[in-house]
Symmetry: none
Subunit: 429 residues, 2 copies
C-alpha cells in the first residue's frame, strides 16, 4: 500500500484571525508524521458554513484521510457536524447512545442538560462515534466520497486523548504505518548553500532524505530515514559525514550548545565563569538557562564600561589605552582576570562593537574580541562579522564565544574557519 | 469595493511535519485582519513540487490575494519560485538586478557567490521584485489567473520587514483599506480576564474595538479605531483609562520596558547596575539589548554562587547563613553592595529559585528576592510566584525586577499589587 495522504483541517475564527496559535495542528502533524504518513496539506478555515462545506468536499477529492479539529461545541458558532453532513449529503439524526451519555453526565453533576447540548449528539446518519471520555463533544468518523474523515473537538486535551487512544491506532491499523527515524544536527559557521553542497556530495541511500532550516545563527540539518532499516540507515549516514561537517555540529536533536558544553564540564568537573561586554548577559543566560548549571557555572561579570573592566576583571588601564576596549589584548586580559577572580577552571570573555553607534573605519560595527582562559594557556582572537544589526551581532557573538569553548573542550582547533566571519588576529599563550 | 478575500500559504516540510510552530502564519493573519481584510483560508504545504503547483493554481480560483511564505532559499528543497512559474505557465528568467545585488552582497564580504545562490534571482518572467534589504532571498509579486500572489521568504524577520515596508502598504493601497489607528499597550501584572472587565466597563465609541494578546509575561492590549476619526477616538479612549490600568502599562507600541526605563535614566543622568542570581544574564540583557544603553548601564554581576555574592557584591556571609541566598535580606545586600561597587545611582538585584530543583516547603520554586538600591534608600521584597517552569520563572523574575525600577522612576508605589504573585515581605530603609 502506498503512503496515505493525510490532511489536517483546523476550524475557528480565532485561529484564522491569528488570535491564537494553532498548536493542535502542530501536534497533529507530528503524530501523523510519526506514523510514517504523508501530511499533504494543512488548512485553517473560519466558522462559516459555506467555507466548511466546500473545504470538506474539496479535500475529499485529494486526500486519503482528513483530520478535522474544532467546531463540535454546543453553541451557534459550532458548525462542523452540520457541515460534515451537508458535505456528505446525508441527513443528521440523534445518536441516542451519545445523547444518553450527555444526560447521564449532567445528572451526575446534579444539573439539567441545556437543550443546546443535544446538538452534540446530532450527526450524519452514517457517522461512527468516537468516544470523548473527558468532554461533552463526541468525535466521529465519516467517509465522504471515499475519503476517511475524522472529526475531533478543538479543546487540545480532548482532541489529543481521542487521537492517541482511538484515532491514531485505527489509522495505523487501517492504512499501514511505516517506520521512520529523524535526527537533527545543529550546525554553526557553515552556510546553508555550502552545507547542502557538502552533504549532497555524499553517497546516500534512497530512503534517506535531507532538510535544512535556518535557525539563526544556527543551521539545522535534518536527516530522515524511512522504512524498516530507517534507524540503521540514518546512523550510517551520520557516521559517514566528512570531518568538516561533523566539526560544525554544535548540538543534536533537542539539545542546545550550552547544554552540550555543560555536560562536558560536569563530566570533567570543570567550572566556568564569563566576562561579557557586547554580549551583555546573553552568554551567562545561555548557561544559566540550562537546569543544573550551578554545577559548573560559577559567576559572570558584565563589564560594560571600561571602569568595570578594570575593577571587575583587573584589566590594566594601559591595555585599554593602547589597544582599545575592543581588542584581542583586552579580551585576553578579561578572560585571565575573570579566571583568577572567580577561581574557575575556564573563563570566557567577549568585547565587541554591537552598533548601531561606536564603529570606526578601523573597528567597524561587528568587530569582536574573544578570550578563553584555560588551565594550559589563554586563547584570544579578534574577529569581524558583517553588521547584521545590534541584536544579531550580539547573538552571533554569543555563539562564537560558546563555539570557542565547545571546540576547546572537544579537542578541536579553537580557531575555526567560519563563513562570513573574518579573523584579524589570533593568539595563544 | 467589497472586502478582499485573502489567503495565506506557508510552505516547508518542517512546518507541515509540525517540527516548527508556524508563527509566520499567525503574524500574517493578524496583519491582514488589521487592514480590515477577510482571511478566508490558511494553508500549509510541504516542499513538493506537485503540491505547491496545485495549491497555487487551486487558490487562484478562490482568493483575491494570496500571501505565500517560505521556499525561496538557495537549496534544492527550495521550490516555491519554480512552482510559482509553473502554476502561472511561464518560463523563469534571471532577474539581473537581483543577481547583481547578490554578487555585490557576497563580494562586499570578500566571498565568492556559490552557484546555488543564483537560483534566488531566477523568477517567472512577469514577476515584480520585492526588495529584501536583509537577506539573499528577494520576494516577488505574480498574478496567477487574475489573483495577486505575494511570495516572501520563510525567515521571520525578512518576511516581516518585506510585508511591513512594501507588501501590506501596497495591499492597503490597491485593495482599499479603511483608515485605521492601532495603539498597543504592553501591560504587566493584570490578568486578561481582569483587564477585559476593566476596559469593558469604560464607555467606548462604536468605532473603537479592543483586542488582547498574551505575550507572556506581558499582556498586550490593542486599541483599534476605524474611520476618519480613528486617531482622535483612540487617543480619547487611552486618555480616559482608569489609573489602575495606566499604572500597569509598562511600554507602548514598539517599545520595551527596558527602553522606557533607559529613556528615563538618560533624561535624568541616572546610572544603573545589576546583580543577578536566578535571572542570570536576562536582566542585564534587557538593558544592553537597547542601543545606546552604555549611556546609563554601567555594569552587571551574575553572582550565581554564594562565593560570588560575597566577592562581587560584598554580601555578608552571616546573612547567607542566617536567611539563605533567596531572601529579602540577601537581595537587599546584593543591591546595596552592587550600588557601592559600581558607583551607580541605582542598583537592581534578583535572587530566586528557578527550579526544577532547589525548592523546599518553606521556599518553593518561584520564590524571588528583589532589591532596588536608590539615592534615598533601599527597597527590597520577597515574592512567590507559581512554578511556571524554569524558563518562565526566570523571565517573570526579570520583568518583576524591571517593573520595580520602572515604578520607582515613575513615582508609583514600588510594591505593586500583582495578580498570581504573592508578596511575603517588603522593606524600605
Amino acid at each position: 500500500m502506498s503512503v496515505p495522504r493525510v490532511e489536517i483541517i483546523s476550524t475557528g475564527e480565532e485561529v484564522i484571525h491569528g488570535e491564537l496559535v494553532d498548536t493542535n495542528a502542530v501536534w497533529l502533524s507530528q503524530k501523523v508524521v510519526e506514523l510514517g504518513f504523508h501530511v499533504q496539506r494543512r488548512i485553517t478555515v473560519g466558522d462559516r458554513m459555506s467555507d466548511l462545506v466546500s473545504v470538506f468536499r474539496e479535500r475529499a477529492a485529494h486526500a486519503d484521510v482528513v483530520v478535522v479539529s474544532g467546531g463540535l461545541g454546543p453553541t451557534t458558532d459550532d458548525l462542523t457536524a452540520e457541515a460534515a453532513a451537508l458535505a456528505k449529503g446525508e441527513p443528521r439524526v440523534i445518536f441516542e447512545e451519545w445523547a444518553q451519555h450527555l444526560r447521564d453526565r449532567f445528572s451526575l453533576r446534579g444539573r439539567e442538560m441545556p437543550d443546546n447540548n443535544l446538538k452534540q449528539a446530532l450527526l450524519a446518519e452514517s457517522a461512527v462515534l468516537v468516544d470523548n471520555p473527558i468532554g461533552t463533544a463526541c468525535g466521529f468518523r465519516l467517509d465522504i466520497d471515499g475519503t476517511r474523515f475524522y472529526f475531533t473537538p478543538g479543546v487540545p486535551r480532548e482532541m489529543k486523548r481521542m487521537m492517541s487512544e482511538i484515532i491514531l491506532p485505527e489509522m495505523a491499523h487501517d492504512f499501514g504505518a511505516q517506520k521512520r527515524c529523524l535526527r537533527r544536527l545543529h550546525t554553526f559557521g557553515v552556510s546553508e548553500a555550502r552545507m547542502d553542497e557538502w552533504l549532497n556530495q555524499m553517497p546516500r541511500h534512497q530512503d534517506i532524505s535531507l532538510g535544512f532550516r535556518a535557525h539563526l545563527p544556527l543551521l539545522e540539518v535534518k536527516v530522515l530515514g524511512v522504512g524498516d532499516q530507517a534507524t540503521v540507515l540514518v546512523e550510517q549516514f551520520l557516521a559517514s559525514m566528512p570531518e568538516k561537517v561533523r566539526e560544525s555540529v554544535v548540538a543534536r536533536d533537542d539539545q542546545s550548545m550550552a547544554q552540550v558544553i555543560g555536560d562536558m564540564c560536569r563530566a570533567r568537573a570543570i567550572t566556568i565563569s564569563t566576562a561579557e561586554s557586547c554580549t551583555g548577559g546573553l552568554l551567562a543566560d545561555a548557561f544559566i538557562h540550562v537546569a543544573g548549571s550551578s554545577d559548573y557555572f560559577v559567576e559572570g561579570a558584565i563589564t560594560y564600561s571600561n571602569r568595570a573592566k578594570q575593577n571587575r576583571c583587573d584589566v590594566n588601564p594601559q591595555l585599554l589605552d593602547e589597544y582599545g576596549a575592543v581588542s584581542l589584548e583586552v579580551a585576553r586580559a578579561m578572560a585571565l582576570g575573570m579566571q583568577r577572580r572567580a577561581e574557575s577552571t575556564l573563563a570566557l570573555s567577549t568585547t565587541g562593537i554591537a552598533g548601531p553607534g561606536g564603529g570606526s573605519d578601523q573597528k567597524p560595527v561587528g568587530t569582536l574580541g574573544l578570550g578563553l582562559a584555560t588551565e594550559s594557556g589563554c586563547y584570544s582572537q579578534l574577529l569581524v562579522m558583517p553588521d547584521f544589526g545590534r541584536t544579531s551581532v550580539r547573538l552571533v557573538s554569543t555563539f562564537l564565544a560558546l563555539d570557542m569553548l565547545r571546540r576547546y573542550l572537544s579537542g578541536l582547533d579553537v580557531f575555526a574557519p567560519y563563513e562570513m566571519i573574518k579573523r584579524l588576529q589570533q593568539h595563544v599563550s
